[in-house]
């Protein structure tokens, strides 16, 4: 705590040294009674990658929207080379050389790559000239794009490339990147870092918003840390440890996840026997003879790069897709392959899908209604087919308290929560049901360190109480932290599970890449 306090001294307004390229001073932004930014100062110099660190909801996104002209600050000024500038709209920001790579890409799915880029280009640029410039930039920076592809057919990494190319075509002096790696595979992230380093060497300033501390320590030499809308410090992240940075972000030391020790495994609770499912669509993956077994008290981690059958496997486990053979899926020995999701829940299973908004929760419905949506088979929330709103609110309140869900108002719409808080809610909603089997897909995707630790600990504690848990995750660190054994899903085929203590990240990484050693799971 002492280290944090010394860092929270106010940042002097006029620092010694060269005038910063862009500065923001005394920024205050209020939404009604909520203060998202409270007197934030930030200075960005040319040729540096400046990290903006903070938990979900710390005010990072608000600050960057102000810099990009999307929000008007309630108080405070933005400067460019020492002069105060007005940013009434993004056009004005672009004129000053500010470009933005959005976290939730600001792309129109039904337009082509070139059309999406043309939207923000100068009016006098012809389609052909634009295509030429896209191609040239692709060669220069290794950012290959097919201009005529519609965006809906592209992967997350390709979509981000569009955002970056669109930004670079305007020759920006400052590039703001909001959580750029949150949707990328490790390989795509590496390629991004190369581009960012190149941009820095070209003398551009980069504002790198993230809560991934390892990335920040690798890329940046200066970081501004936000907590609850205030700057709590600036530092050189390379001189700090991941733990001390996290402590500044959260305000106290992040609780380390305590792994289960000497877990005694109970009897088998979840079993898949040679589950085979055809690909449900053009861009989907077929499952090929997937077999696995999870015992009570065990956490099985499924590693793999996105798009290798994770979504299909989750759907088959949850009952969103019925198995052709009812014996292929077993819960506590009972064949459930033909049963739907509610029937499986009644048998003691719980499911947390990957996508928070729209799959795990209905964003426009309140938290209590969302509690009802997945818990009505397993909790007394209805009577004679009628909803008991009091009981639903009570359940939501218990989840909120047990998982420290931060929210505005007593029972707000799920979509108004920040990503980490909504994830804590949807995980907590299932865990409070005390399921005998829990299946989670990407438990901490896009969630800040504190919330992620909370969720992982809750999963470990549930296993310690005898539940069988299957965690599907792209995050290897997470799997090695919590899973007792790990199997790899590649192109719809699941490798044999190995105890995580007996394997390495490299070995798992090879299997994720589809190395030829990837042996299918042995037939039982």
């Amino acid at each position: 705590m002492e280290a944090v306090r010394s860092l929270s001294a106010p940042v002097p307004r006029a620092k010694a040294g060269p005038t910063p390229l862009f500065g923001a001073y005394g920024i205050v932004k209020r939404f009604g009674s909520f203060t998202a930014n409270d007197g934030v100062d930030l200075e960005i110099r040319a040729g540096e990658i400046h990290a903006l660190l903070g938990e979900n909801g710390a005010g990072k996104s608000t600050l960057m929207k102000i810099l990009y002209g999307l929000l008007e600050p309630t108080e405070g000024v933005v400067t460019h080379k020492g002069d105060i500038v007005q940013l009434p709209n993004p056009e004005a920001a672009r004129q000053l050389g500010i470009g933005m790579v959005f976290q939730h890409f600001s792309l129109c799915e039904n337009l082509t790559v070139a059309e999406n880029i043309a939207l923000v280009m100068p009016k006098d640029l012809s389609g052909r000239a634009l295509a030429d410039r896209i191609a040239r930039l692709g060669i220069d920076y290794g950012l290959h794009l097919e201009p005529d592809r519609p965006v809906w057919s592209l992967s997350a990494g390709e979509r981000q490339r569009i955002e970056i190319v669109r930004c670079l075509l305007q020759d920006p002096k400052l590039v703001i990147l909001d959580e750029p790696t949150s949707v990328l595979t490790p390989g795509e992230a590496e390629a991004l870092f190369t581009v960012l380093e190149r941009l820095r060497q070209e003398g551009r300033a980069l504002l790198y918003i993230s809560h991934r501390l390892d990335e920040v320590r690798r890329l940046c030499v200066r970081a501004t840390i936000l907590r609850a809308g205030k700057v709590v410090g600036t530092c050189n992240p390379r001189e700090e440890t991941a733990r001390s940075l996290a402590a500044m972000m959260v305000g106290n030391a992040v609780r380390a996840v305590t792994p289960q020790e000497g877990a005694t495994l109970g009897k088998e609770r979840l079993r898949l026997d040679r589950l085979a499912l055809p690909a449900p669509g053009l861009h989907a993956t077929a499952l090929r003879d997937v077999s696995l077994s999870v015992a009570g008290g065990e956490i099985l981690g499924i590693a793999g790069i996105a798009g290798n059958g994770q979504a299909e496997l989750f759907a088959a486990l949850s009952g969103e897709t019925r198995a052709p053979d009812r014996e292929a899926v077993r819960l506590d020995g009972a064949p459930v392959g033909a049963l739907g999701i509610n029937a499986r829940r009644r048998l003691g299973a719980g499911f947390v899908p990957e996508e928070r908004n729209g799959h795990a929760a209905a964003p426009l419905m309140s938290l209590s209604e969302n509690a009802l949506l997945s818990r009505h088979p397993t909790a007394p929330l209805t009577r004679f087919g009628l909803i008991r709103p009091g009981a639903a609110r009570d359940l939501a309140r218990r989840v909120i308290e047990a998982f420290d869900v931060r929210k505005a108002g007593p029972d707000p719409a799920a979509g108004t929560l920040s990503g980490g808080n909504l994830q804590k809610f949807v995980v907590g909603r299932e865990i409070l049901a005390e399921p005998g089997v829990l299946v989670i897909n990407q438990p901490t995707w896009g969630v800040d360190a504190a919330a992620a630790a909370h969720i992982r600990q809750a999963v470990i504690d549930l296993a310690a109480r005898g539940a069988a848990i299957l965690v599907i995750s792209q995050d290897l660190d997470e799997l090695f932290e919590i899973a007792g054994s790990i199997a790899v899903l590649h192109d719809g085929t699941l490798s044999a599970a190995v105890p995580s203590a007996e394997t390495t990240r490299e070995a798992v990484g090879l299997l994720m890449g589809g190395s030829s050693d990837a042996a299918p799971a042995p037939a039982p």
Binding site: P90, N110, A118
Partner: protein, 308 residues
């Protein structure tokens, strides 16, 4: 002489299709920007009544047509203020607009029921118009028909060849993303709604000034709804709206002839035929080319309130 009969049939088909093309293209632009205006029928009939009243008062067909377009625009402005400005529900507002338009048209047209007027003048170019087979079809139409054809071409060009058209389509696809890029979502939507209203009003004016040159209450007879359906089944493409309108017009003319010839089929069935044929054709068309993404403007019907 059969050639002239074919031409005569085609002229009536085009005449039946013109109001649908006008109203459909206008609605297409509004929907491409993301606004679903179910008030087409109301804007059309109000346009018909006002155009007839203005034409009677001034004696000018052109002023009448402008009056009709203006009347549609006025109702559309009301709709735009409600749904784009105040983020009201588009479906409810559109339905109310239809009811309002029907009521207002009765009020405006009350003194003109049963009065006939000369139809809008047709183009007559000596030599060309008298060409056998195609002269009347190509060179002998009234201004509305030419306006409708020009409108289809202009809107196609605008939406797919201009930057403003690209912005309009982008806003209809994702208002959050385009707002984040700094596009003027609400301004573009409001203008698109106004354009749609003016087109619908013009379509109504065509009915009252050219198609059946008199005013009678309820004379649009559901054409606004058909125009709405055309836009959907045409998967929001102008040329397909025109093709669908022509198909509908053709089926209408055909069933009239079939009824006159006494085919022995119930008249109600024959009257329903144009609707069935149009829906069937356009459904098949939109099924054929779907592989992913969405045909409809993805933000269609969703209200947008920017934070600032």
């Amino acid at each position: 002489m059969t050639l002239d009969i074919v031409q005569m049939v085609l002229v009536t088909v085009l005449a039946a299709a013109t109001p649908l093309i006008l109203a459909g293209i206008g609605e297409l632009v509004a929907e491409r920007s993301g606004v679903l205006n179910l008030g087409v029928e109301g804007m059309m009939i109000f346009g018909a009544a006002v155009s007839f009243a203005v034409a009677m008062q001034t004696g000018s067909t052109v002023l009448g047509a402008l009056g009709g377009a203006g009347a549609g625009l006025l109702l559309a402005a009301l709709f735009g203020i409600l749904t784009v400005g105040l983020a009201a529900n588009q479906v409810a507002s559109g339905l109310s607009l239809t009811i309002l338009g029907l009521g207002l048209s009765g009020l405006v047209g009350a003194n003109y029921v049963g009065i006939k007027r000369d139809p809008a003048p047709h183009l007559a170019i000596p030599g060309l118009t008298d060409l056998p087979g195609i002269g009347h079809l190509v060179f002998g139409q009234d201004g509305f028909v030419y306006a409708a054809v020009a409108l289809v071409a202009a809107v196609s060009w605008f939406l797919w060849r201009t930057r403003a058209g690209l912005m309009l389509r982008a806003i209809g696809d994702d208002h959050v993303a385009t707002h984040a890029l700094g596009l003027k979502v609400r301004r573009v939507r409001f203008l698109s709604v106004l354009f749609g209203g003016a087109c619908a009003g013009l379509g109504g004016a065509y009915l009252a000034l050219a198609y059946t040159p008199f005013w009678s209450p309820g004379m649009t007879a559901g054409r606004g709804w058909i125009a709405l359906a055309l836009v959907v089944f045409a998967s929001w493409r102008p040329l397909r709206v025109a093709a669908g309108a022509l198909l509908f017009g053709g089926a209408t003319v055909l069933q009239l002839h079939a009824q006159a010839a006494g085919l022995g089929l119930p008249g109600q069935f024959l009257s329903a035929l144009p609707y069935l044929a149009t829906i069937l054709a356009l459904v098949l068309l939109s099924l054929g080319q779907r592989q992913g993404g969405s045909l409809a403007p993805a933000a269609l019907g969703r209200v947008f309130t920017p934070s600032r």
